[in-house]
Amino acid sequence: MAALPDDLTDAPDEALLRLYANGDGGAARALTARHAPRVMNLAWRMLGDRTEAEDVTQEAMLRLWRVAGDWRSGEARLSTWLYRVAANLCTDRLRRRRGVPLDTVPDPADEAPGAVERLMAGDRAAALQAALDRLPERQRLAVVLRHIEGASNPEIAAALETSVEAVESLLARGRRALAAMLEGDRDKLGLDR
């Protein structure tokens, strides 16, 4: 993508969206540069598949372009709205995957297809991904948004359309499950106990 003018790079999301709705193509590029990587990363963490994550990212951004002209100022944060759209798209895809034998019953981490290779490679991020893949969808979403994307609990609550208390509960359960799955791998991954 071509370099963006500073005034667009620093402009607030809503101002950029308004500019885009009024015909400014540069504003769309600024919004894409700002938000597509976040959506892409969330989708990749949720789906574990780069191609699918790209599809979700493109679809989420397309929906943003379509609502741009009717966006109500102050009603929702654009980043939260995009997370919500991406989360819903990921959930839809994960539900469609059900019925595929490999995804029906989660296996223990050491036996999960692909997990051994990931652990053998000694990649902590890959080990985390293997564990994330086995969390229930909403726990996974909450954990990824909080601990990888750095979203606040109220933002996650808005994205998941639930309460902050429910997010705290999802996070607590998600972290406990992840810790149980990963604790035994700390030695292999060069982490002191």
Binding site: Y20, R29, W65, R124
Partner: protein, 137 residues
């Protein structure tokens, strides 16, 4: 918006090195994806401009299950469409108008049905007995 979560207990101490590794390893969108997104943006923009030029408001697409940040067709619009919309309303209005005209004209018996009272009598002959039932209460 990025906010590094605080560690709150032994669970977080176990997980933080994994989260740190994951934060460092991000799936960046490819140049082709960024170009495709930009193309989408321009296409939607062009469509919106064309629709505005034709006097038709651009449709607001909404995310599946996501909050609607903008006005969108409401339940009444869906209900109206379910009834058949304007074509159904026109048909209904025509039928009502015909009924009113019929009542106002008060035509003589047989004027509207040129096949005459004989046909009605023949129909009665096909379904005898109902009049008797009514008469008996």
């Amino acid at each position: 918006m990025t906010e590094k979560p605080k560690e709150t207990g032994p669970t977080d101490a176990v997980l933080e090195p994994f989260f740190a590794a994951a934060r460092a390893e991000r799936a960046a969108p490819s140049a082709a994806l960024m170009a495709a997104i930009a193309d989408d943006a321009l296409a939607v923009q062009a469509g919106r401009a064309a629709a505005a030029g034709g006097g038709v408001p651009a449709a607001a697409a909404t995310a599946a299950g996501a909050a609607r940040p903008a006005s969108c067709p409401g339940r009444w619009a869906a209900f109206w469409a379910g009834l058949g919309g304007w074509p159904a309303a026109a048909t209904f209005a025509s039928a009502a108008l015909f009924g009113v005209a019929l009542g106002a004209a008060s035509p003589a018996p047989g004027a509207l049905f040129p096949w005459g009272a004989g046909a009605v009598a023949a129909e009665d002959a096909l379904f005898p007995g109902f009049g008797d039932l009514l008469a008996e209460g």
